[in-house]
């Protein structure tokens, strides 16, 4: 694979160059008072940060229903965010035409809830900081893809600390060609290695019920999930989670009930809904006021279900979402 080794400051230069066009925007990170956060830059960069060690939200969320043509947007985001964008593109929730998606090698992140002041924002210091695994969000510690290998192009860091810009699509090719430097072979081994395989997720309903005991059904998890894209979620209706009259009707039929009810229905059905598109980012868990270990379940289940079809969410623009396609000769074990 070929890419360009970048001189320091080249990424900022290139982005500023890009932003000179009035119609261009960059969605990336900004160093601010309270730490690093998402920012849409217009005109020029300002306190730009290539990496963001505080998780917060998955920025693909902001791309939903982005169809405008003519405005070019460059995404400079983490792999899990770019992957969610790729899935949203398959779900026709975002137009790809005017977006250039660049994934950046990710060192892992700290939960924004933890409010740690000592987290460095510089790539060279983060490796050291995350030596202590416990300081990392659980989602990141088991992340399937921390390398900037998804989207149109990636920013990779080699073992000596050099930055590389590597194109993956034609669009990426255009971008990298315009940057300074010559194309050369990218080193095989980089600072961020391929993720180790994690154990198959295995649990039982008793543990599930215990884990979700404190859930208050606020549905923040759904609202912050980048791939829970529905304009009118099925749980807004009465079929699965009856409300008002429908609720009373149900209670009349079944007898006294604990409230809130339907936790298992909500989470299990949502789990199935996002089973092929979940990128394991943990944005749901980040959003949960009750500290429910959502990533364990959603990432765990989706990884298994994607495995059935050798699919990986966000890996490629071309793989169709498995539920809308089939092979005639497959899944021999599925029938009993």
């Amino acid at each position: 694979m070929k890419g360009k080794k970048l001189k320091s400051g080249e990424i900022e230069n290139a982005l500023n160059q890009f932003l000179k066009d009035e119609q261009h925007l960059v969605l990336g990170f900004k160093k601010g008072e309270g730490g690093v956060g998402h920012q849409i830059f217009k005109g020029s960069l300002d306190h730009y940060s290539l990496v963001n060690p505080l998780f917060g939200a998955n920025a693909a969320l902001y791309l939903r229903r982005l169809f405008s043509k003519g405005l070019k947007v460059m995404l400079m985001l983490r792999p899990c965010e770019i992957r969610a964008y790729v899935e949203l593109h398959k779900l026709t929730q975002v137009e790809r035409e005017d977006i250039i998606a660049v994934s950046i090698d990710c060192f892992g992140t700290v939960s924004s809830k933890e409010k740690k002041d000592d987290v460095p924002a510089e790539a060279d210091k983060l490796t050291g900081y995350f030596q202590d695994k416990d300081s990392m969000r659980w989602a990141c510690s088991v992340c399937r893809e921390r390398r900037g290998v998804v989207g149109d192009a990636g920013v990779r860091i080699d073992k000596s600390g050099n930055y590389w810009m590597v194109p993956y699509t034609e669009k990426g090719e255009d971008l990298v060609s315009g940057m300074e430097g010559e194309f050369e072979e990218v080193p095989a081994e980089m600072l961020i290695p391929e993720s180790a395989k994690t154990d198959k997720f295995q649990i039982d309903m008793e543990t599930f019920n215990k884990d979700f005991e404190k859930c208050i059904m606020c549905m923040n998890c759904r609202d912050m999930c980048p791939v829970c894209y529905c304009i009118d979620c099925v749980f807004n209706g009465d079929e699965y989670l009856p409300k008002g009259d429908a609720l009373l009707n149900k209670v009349f039929r079944t007898g006294s009930t604990q409230m809130p009810r339907g936790k298992d229905l909500f989470h299990l059905i949502r789990m199935y809904h996002v089973s092929q598109t979940c990128v394991g980012c943990g944005a749901c868990e980040e959003a949960c006021p009750q500290g429910i270990p959502l990533t364990k379940y959603f990432k765990g289940v989706s990884e298994r279900l994607q495995g059935v079809f050798s699919y990986m969410s966000g890996r490629s623009f071309d793989e169709p979402i498995p539920y809308v396609t089939f092979l005639e000769d497959e899944l021999k074990d599925a029938m009993d």
């Binding site: 229905l265 539920y323 396609t325 089939f326 005639e328």
Partner: protein, 139 residues
Amino acid sequence: MAEDEKDKNPEIVGFCCSYCTFKASEMAGSLRMKYPEGIKVIEVPCSSRVDPAFIIKAIVEGADGVFVSGCHPGDCHFIKGNFYTRRKIAALKEMFDAFSMKDKLRLFWVSASEARRFIDKVTTFYNDIKEKNNEREKA
């Protein structure tokens, strides 16, 4: 129904395609074949109409088992519906497996003429669940 009694007699919900398995179930009835009353079927126009959410709902609301049954691959009245069913149910089975309840979901292919096969499939499923429930009770 008392809790212990329920354990003894599993409740099974089956989704049957109107063009094949439901027809087989009708024929089983006409031929006076017997199967346990815990087995109750819902007619759907095609097995591809079965939303995995229905299955999750049935289990969460207390069914001991759910089966989905359609035409053999290649024989779907709608030509390809059951291929999609197979994908969805294979995935859902994997999910059930993750929750250690794989035994609660089955997928059968039963054509309209296979009344005997229908009976065999549902009765085996019923008995397997019953055995599992009894084991669990003993444990």
